[in-house]
C-alpha cells in the first residue's frame, strides 16, 4: 500500500477539543436552536420596535382628542375615522390620489423608452453607463433634489429664462391659468409640483421595467418577426405584455411614494394639503396624534388595495 510521500498514515479523526467545537456540535445537532438564535435578535427588534409602534399607532387612532384641552385621553372612539369623511378631508385624499395617479402615468410614459433602450440596445460599457446614470439620481439626496427644483422653477431661474428665450412665455402663462394645473407661478403651481414628483420617483419606475424587459429573451422578438409580425406588432403583442408587470412593479413605488410624501407639497405648488401634510400637522403643531393616526390608515388601505391588484397583474415576479 503506497502512501503520500513524506506523510505518515493514517491520521485518525481526532475531534478538535475546545469550547467552540462543543458549541458547534450542539448547534449542529439542534438546528432549530441554531435557527432560533439567529432569529431572536432581529425578531425582537422588529417585533418590539417596528410592529409595536405600528400597533400602538393603530390603537391610538381610536383614542379621544379633546379640542379644548388639546389633550389625548385613552377613551376609545370612532370619531377620528368619522372625521376622515369630512368634505375637507375628502378633498385632501382626492388631491393626493390624483397626484399619485398622474405622477405614476407620467413616470411610466417617460421611463419606458429609457428602460427599453437600456435593456434592448445598450451593450457593453453603455449598459453600465445607463445603469449608473439611472441609479445615481435615484440615490442622490431627496431633499437636495427637491431643493434643486425650487431653484430651477423659481422666477428668474433657468426654466423662465429658457421659456423667455424661446418666446414661449405667453404659452406658459396661459398654461398656468388652467384650473388644476396652474398657480401664480411655476413654483406655486400644480404643474411644478407634478414635475418635481415625477422627477424624483422616475428612476424607481425605470429600473423595474428595465429588469422585466431584460428577462424577455431576444429570440422571442425574433420569433415574432419570423412569424411575420411587423416591428410594431411584435412590440405590442409580445414585448409589451411581458414588460407590463415591470410597469406595475414600478408604479407601486411611484404611487406609494407620492401618496406618503409631505415635503414636496410643502416646498412646491399651491396651498392645499396632502395626506402626509395632514398627518404631520395633526401630530406636530396640534398634537392630535389620534387624528394623525387615523389619517395614516388611508394610505395603508389604498396601498393595500393597490398591492393586491398588482399581485394579480404579476408585478411581484418583476421586482
Amino acid at each position: 500500500m503506497e502512501t503520500l510521500p513524506g506523510v505518515a498514515l493514517p491520521a485518525p479523526a481526532r475531534p478538535r477539543a475546545g469550547v467552540a467545537r462543543v458549541v458547534a456540535n450542539v448547534l449542529y445537532r439542534r438546528s432549530t436552536l441554531y435557527l432560533l438564535l439567529l432569529l431572536t435578535p432581529p425578531l425582537l427588534w422588529f417585533g418590539g420596535v417596528y410592529l409595536g409602534s405600528l400597533l400602538s399607532l393603530l390603537v391610538q387612532s381610536f383614542y379621544t382628542f379633546d379640542d379644548f384641552t388639546m389633550g389625548v385621553t385613552p377613551e376609545l372612539t370612532w370619531a377620528n375615522y368619522k372625521a376622515l369623511l369630512d368634505a375637507a378631508n375628502h378633498d385632501i385624499i382626492l388631491r393626493t390620489l390624483s397626484m399619485a395617479g398622474t405622477v405614476t402615468v407620467a413616470s411610466a410614459v417617460l421611463g419606458f423608452p429609457v428602460a427599453y433602450y437600456m435593456a434592448r440596445y445598450a451593450t457593453g460599457w453603455r449598459k453600465g453607463f445607463f445603469y449608473i446614470a439611472v441609479m445615481l439620481p435615484m440615490w442622490a439626496s431627496y431633499i437636495v433634489k427637491a431643493y434643486s427644483w425650487t431653484v430651477i422653477l423659481s422666477k428668474g431661474g433657468i426654466i423662465y429664462w429658457l421659456v423667455e428665450r424661446l418666446y414661449l412665455l405667453p404659452a406658459l402663462e396661459w398654461a398656468l391659468t388652467l384650473p388644476g394645473v396652474g398657480g401664480s407661478s411655476l413654483s406655486t403651481s400644480n404643474l411644478g409640483r407634478f414635475l418635481v414628483f415625477t422627477y424624483i420617483w422616475l428612476p424607481y419606475m425605470i429600473l423595474p421595467i428595465q429588469a422585466a424587459i431584460e428577462r424577455v429573451p431576444g429570440n422571442l422578438m425574433q420569433a415574432a418577426a419570423d412569424l411575420g409580425a411587423r416591428p410594431t406588432q411584435s412590440f405590442r403583442t409580445v414585448l409589451l405584455p411581458l414588460a407590463f408587470p415591470g410597469v406595475v412593479a414600478g408604479s407601486i413605488f411611484t404611487f406609494s411614494l407620492t401618496l406618503g410624501d409631505y415635503i414636496i407639497p410643502q416646498l412646491v405648488g399651491p396651498s392645499g394639503l396632502f395626506i402626509g401634510n395632514m398627518v404631520y400637522t395633526m401630530q406636530g403643531s396640534i398634537g392630535n396624534i389620534p387624528m394623525a393616526a387615523s389619517f395614516t390608515v388611508v394610505p395603508i388601505v389604498i396601498i393595500g388595495i393597490y398591492l393586491t391588484v398588482a399581485r394579480k397583474l404579476g408585478a411581484f415576479d418583476a421586482l
Binding site: 503506497e2 503520500l4 513524506g6 506523510v7 498514515l9 493514517p10 479523526a13 478538535r16 456540535n25 445537532r29
Partner: protein, 340 residues
C-alpha cells in the same frame, strides 16, 4: 486483513412522504472500489451523503470502521468527498484549497503548504498551487478536488459523479487514473455514478439502486451475466426481458427471464435444444463493429439481436420486413425476480 469500512444496516432517509433511501443495507470492504449505480432519483447520491454526514438517516444504523456514525457531523468523520461540482473555494488559491483540511486541524502553514504541494504532485498538478480555481480547466479542477480530499488521509473516499462534467475523452482518461490511484493508495473508494459502463469498468463491486432501494450488489461480471431482477437486467447493459404468456410457452413458467442480445441468433427452423421464436424484423441499425436487429414477436414484444458485422454472410442476413426466427441456447436465459 479484510475489515468492513462502511456498513449500512436498514438505513432510511425520508423527506416527508418521499423515501429517498428506503431500508438500505450494505457493507463495503476496506480497500474496495465500490460503486453505487442507478438512475437519477434512485437514492444513490443520498446514500453517499448519508455516509459523508451531509444527511442524517431517518432510521437505521451506519457504521464507519465499526463505529456508529449516525448523528455525527461530517467534520467528525474520517471520510472525505469529491463533489460533483468540485466545490473548490473560489476565494482561495489552489494550494490553500488543498491545504484546507490541514488548516482547520491547526497544522502550521509551512507544513501544510509542503504537504499540499506533495498532494498536488500526486495528481500531476505540481506547480499549479498559486493559481485560482477559476484559472483551471475542468479536468484540472477535478484533480484539485481529489488532492484536497486525499491530503486528509481518509480511510474512505466518497466520489459523487466526479467525472460527470467532463467530456468523453477526458472522462475515460480520468477513469483509468482514478482506478490506478485507488490501487496505489489502497483507500476504500465509494463511487456514485449513473453511467453503467463507468461502474462496470472500474469497480470491485457495484450496488444497483432503484427507487431508494438496492436491487443487487455484486461484481460487475455477475451483474451482467447473472442479473437478479428485471430492473438490473435492463439497466446494466441491454437485455431482452421476456415475460408473460411468451415466457410461459418458452419456459413453462410466467417468471420473466432475460437473454443478452449477443446471445441471440437467427435460425432457419426450430432446432433441437435451442429455444426459438418467430417474428418480423422491424428495424436494423448499423453500429460499426456490430449491427442491431429488432424483431417483433408474439405478444407485441420486441427482441433485440446484436451480431458482429462480418460474422455472417451479408447476403444471407434477413432484411427489414422479413419473417425471421430468433434462437438462443437455454444456458443464455437468466431467470429474474419480477419486482422492480
Amino acid at each position: 486483513m479484510s475489515s468492513i469500512a462502511v456498513e449500512l444496516k436498514t438505513v432510511s432517509r425520508h423527506y416527508g412522504a418521499v423515501k429517498a433511501v428506503d431500508g438500505v443495507s450494505l457493507s463495503i470492504q476496506d480497500g474496495e472500489f465500490f460503486s453505487m449505480l442507478g438512475p437519477s432519483g434512485s437514492g444513490k447520491t443520498t446514500c453517499l451523503r448519508l455516509i459523508a454526514g451531509f444527511e442524517q438517516p431517518t432510521s437505521g444504523s451506519l457504521l464507519l470502521h465499526g463505529q456508529e456514525a449516525a448523528g455525527l457531523p461530517p467534520y467528525e468523520r474520517d471520510v472525505n468527498t469529491v463533489f460533483q461540482d468540485y466545490a473548490l473555494f473560489p476565494h482561495m488559491s489552489v494550494l490553500d484549497n488543498v491545504a484546507y483540511g490541514l488548516m482547520v486541524k491547526g497544522v502550521a502553514k509551512a507544513t501544510r503548504h509542503k504537504e499540499a504541494e506533495t498532494a498536488l504532485e500526486l495528481v500531476a498538478l505540481g506547480g499549479f498551487g498559486s493559481r485560482r480555481p477559476s484559472q483551471l480547466s475542468g479536468g484540472q479542477r477535478q484533480r484539485v478536488a481529489l488532492a484536497r480530499a486525499l491530503i486528509n488521509k481518509p480511510r474512505v473516499l466518497l466520489l459523487d459523479e466526479p467525472l460527470g462534467a467532463l467530456d468523453l475523452k477526458l472522462r475515460e482518461q480520468m477513469q483509468a487514473e482514478l482506478k490506478s490511484l485507488q490501487r496505489r493508495l489502497g483507500i476504500t473508494f465509494v463511487y456514485v455514478t449513473h453511467d453503467q459502463g463507468e461502474a462496470l469498468s472500474m469497480s470491485d463491486r457495484v450496488a444497483v439502486f432503484s427507487q431508494g432501494r438496492i436491487e443487487q450488489v455484486d461484481t460487475p461480471r455477475n451483474l451482467y451475466t447473472r442479473p437478479k431482477t428485471v430492473f438490473v437486467a435492463g439497466f446494466v447493459g441491454t437485455a431482452n426481458v421476456v415475460s408473460g404468456e411468451l415466457a410461459r410457452r418458452l419456459t413453462g413458467s410466467e417468471r420473466p427471464f432475460s437473454v443478452r442480445p449477443e446471445h441471440m441468433r437467427f435460425a432457419m427452423s426450430a432446432e433441437g435444444n435451442r429455444v426459438s421464436v418467430e417474428g418480423r424484423l422491424v428495424e436494423v441499425q448499423y453500429h460499426g463493429a456490430s449491427s442491431r436487429y429488432e424483431v417483433r414477436v408474439e405478444g407485441n414484444q420486441v427482441l433485440t439481436l446484436s451480431m458482429l458485422n462480418g460474422e455472417a454472410d451479408e447476403a444471407s442476413l434477413p432484411r427489414r420486413g422479413d419473417t425471421v426466427r430468433v434462437a438462443w441456447a437455454p444456458e443464455a436465459m437468466v431467470q429474474l425476480e419480477s419486482g422492480g
